[in-house]
Point group: C2
Chain length 220, copies 2
DNA sequence: CGAGCACTTGATCGCTTTCAATAGCTGTGG
DNA sequence: CCACAGCTATTGAAAGCGATCAAGTGCTCG
């Protein structure tokens, strides 16, 4: 794997604090990279201040658009974030020379496109309650897939996002997010320990609430 | 350009009638290709029948996911459609051998991803009126970019979608679409000749209504 | 202890949906 | 030629869901 050696030579790490903007929309991007630890968001803001999250970056997710100069969206660190970065020009050069990297990038971009389209259904057609359940399902799945041993029961995870960030992801207001989370808790779909720790007694139930065709309680 | 010759060898054309489903979600896809003439949509349907369009395929747009077996969405011909197809296996083989094709495909996928994210803002944060104006802006822009001479004024185009298809694109009901189109017409933002022919006296005005930061009346 | 922040909860408003009736168009068959 | 079915689109009235406005709670950190 020669290309990994080559990638190693040009990689470096950067650390960002929670709340810090990693990239400003419209700016030149001098690097591409991937999230190592922490959570970041991709957001678009309209002139009047309405904002919509268009991507949620969890560890292992790629950031940047090889071949494009400007950043299309703000990238904001939600928690403290460590990123593995490659300077853009050397990375693009390497990409041009190593087909394997381009292929891998295409795969990842297709995955992102699928995720974006899945999210369009959530935004366009789901109720507030279904939106919340959908987000929780995704977070639960991502969390479980990162746990090496596979199926952890009972399913528990920490909410990485504030109510406002969830609202921006879901096209809702933070008040509605809060109300729907309370409602799911009252109905026993989720159990909260504090404001940020969620446990899901029955993932199948949660997926039903999300309106997805789950018909099974298993992940992945 | 050797790869074009190779592509030529494996390409063929298929014709689909308006209303016909080109690909069923979940089915194996035996080809990839691109739209030559006509309009098709990518849609996702929930079990209870709610449907959301997640892509609009105009001439030159690519269809298919190299490296993936199943189709993720229904592809439906809105008008009569002619597609240029390549059998999937030979195409993938060619792609593996010719880095240029993989690069081109990555470019196109990044474009689609941008379009999907732009649409997430529309779905999540815009009002019904802004949604309609956004769709009309996109159609006007696509239409103009296809006209070889560039800037055609006055801006006129045929609406390729039914009210219901627009509703599915915008996450609205067809009644709301109808009402908002009527409202934009009453306010002079657009002029209708019949139900399907639109002319836009002032594209800047339309873009303002879309809530986008236009600050200029020029296209592209 | 008080300021600041994230969150919750309540009351009301209004936009979009829902339900329903009607119009216009096209094609078919008596 | 007209009647009628079937489809697309428009319009009206009423209902409902989420937004908005407004307190108030609980936690952390100075």
């Amino acid at each position: 794997m020669d290309e990994l050696v080559e990638l190693d030579k040009i990689k470096y790490y950067r650390r960002f604090e929670a709340g810090q903007t990693i990239v400003w929309s419209g700016d030149q991007m001098e690097f591409v990279g991937s999230v190592v630890t922490g959570i970041a968001t991709l957001t678009q803001t309209m002139e009047d201040g309405r904002t919509q999250m268009v991507g949620l970056l969890l560890p292992s997710d790629f950031v940047g658009r090889p071949g494009r100069d400007g950043a299309a969206y703000d990238v904001v660190a939600v928690s403290d974030v460590v990123m593995c970065c490659f300077r853009k020009r050397p990375f693009e050069k390497l990409m041009a020379e190593t087909p394997h990297i381009a292929h891998r990038l295409l795969e990842m971009t297709l995955d992102e496109l699928d995720a974006a389209r899945e999210w369009m259904v959530v935004l366009g057609r789901k109720t507030a309650r279904e939106k919340i359940a959908s987000l929780l399902t995704i977070l639960a799945r991502r969390d479980a897939s990162l746990t090496p041993d596979g199926l952890v029961r009972p399913l528990e995870f920490r909410l990485p996002l504030t109510r406002e960030a969830m609202a921006d992801y879901l096209g809702l207001t933070l008040e509605t997010v809060s109300r729907q989370i309370s409602a799911l808790r009252k109905d026993g779909v989720i159990v909260l320990q504090g404001k940020r720790h969620v446990s899901v007694p029955d993932i199948g139930r949660l997926m039903e609430e999300a309106g997805d065709d789950s018909d099974g309680g298993f992940l992945v």
